[in-house]
């Protein structure tokens, strides 16, 4: 395990690259889902009779 993590002495660079990528991608995903939740909640509060996805057909 220690050998795998050291990755020939470059483990810190490789783990940072993969970790940062995961952090940024998961970050924008969570922020986008929160944005969707708040904007749909706001729309539903303004037109409570609409039970669809927030758009009238």
């Amino acid at each position: 395990m220690a050998e795998f993590l050291s990755m020939g002495g470059y483990g810190s660079f490789i783990c940072s690259a993969f970790g940062l990528s995961a952090l940024v991608l998961i970050g924008i995903l969570i922020q986008s889902q929160r944005f969707l939740k708040t904007s749909e909640a706001e729309l539903n509060s303004l037109q409570p009779e609409d039970t669809s996805d927030g758009v009238k057909a």
Partner: protein, 240 residues
């Protein structure tokens, strides 16, 4: 077909249906891509284990350019036909593209330090990608800089279209100028120059990153559409 999906209701239905598909494709391809990247692909004969950073760096760089082309194309539709759906796609694409560009720069820097001996050089490839990042930031700032959203949308769309000239500059910078960055090794006229053991994880991650873009794009588009309707309802209420 274009006009068919320019209808916000149809677009919303389509994105709601496609969103779970994009999510599943992202999870499967990224999961497999990560497994192959970290456990199955061999170390490079010159760059040893550091080559594994290619599997997150290159797809991020490809997506940085792909998203910008999508941003510029939707912006052109905004300016020419004034379609609301194109405006929503452009506005939703910008932050995702900015994240990919940031990752291309950051992971490139992390790869550059052990291989080139420096975090950063002001060469053509790196500088043009940095300009791409600023174009994304500029688009988002300009979009929100006006009290009237339509004026912001048009100003930002013009910036996005003008900035698209940077995309071929990024692509060909490694051929046109002397640079530390290596030339293209996958998208080449005579086929990829890397072995299938490295090409497999790279392509899996590339498909994963592309599916991720669409997954987040669909979420953000639905959110922007709701926000647009909230603004319209507020204006209607204010006008009595």
């Amino acid at each position: 077909m274009f006009n068919y999906f320019a209808n916000p209701t149809r677009f919303l239905r389509l994105t709601s249906k496609l969103q779970p598909i994009a999510m599943v494709v992202t999870l499967i391809t990224m999961g497999a891509g990560l497994y192959y990247s970290l456990f199955q692909s061999p170390p490079d004969y010159q760059q040893s284990e550091t080559v594994r950073m290619m599997y997150v760096h290159v797809p991020a760089a490809w997506m940085a350019m792909f998203c910008y082309v999508a941003l510029a194309a939707s912006s052109a539709v905004v300016l020419i036909w004034r379609h609301m759906v194109a405006d929503i796609v452009a506005k939703s694409t910008a932050p995702i593209g900015a994240c990919f560009t940031f990752l291309a720069l950051a992971t490139g820097s992390l790869w550059g330090k052990p291989m080139w001996g420096t975090w950063w050089v002001w060469d053509a490839r790196l500088t043009s990608v940095l300009i791409l990042f600023f174009l994304y930031l500029g688009y988002m700032v300009l979009y929100n800089a006006f009290d009237e959203p339509t004026r912001g949308a048009r100003a930002a769309a013009i910036l996005a279209i003008v900035g698209v000239i940077n995309v071929p500059i990024i692509k060909f910078s490694v051929d046109w100028w002397n640079t530390l960055h290596q030339p293209a090794s996958v998208v080449k006229m005579d086929g990829p120059a890397i072995h299938s053991s490295m090409l497999t994880p790279l392509l899996l991650m590339a498909v994963g990153y592309t599916a991720f873009y669409f997954w987040v794009l669909f979420i953000r588009s639905r959110a922007e559409l709701s926000a647009y309707k909230v603004r319209a309802l507020r204006i209607r209420q204010a006008e009595g």
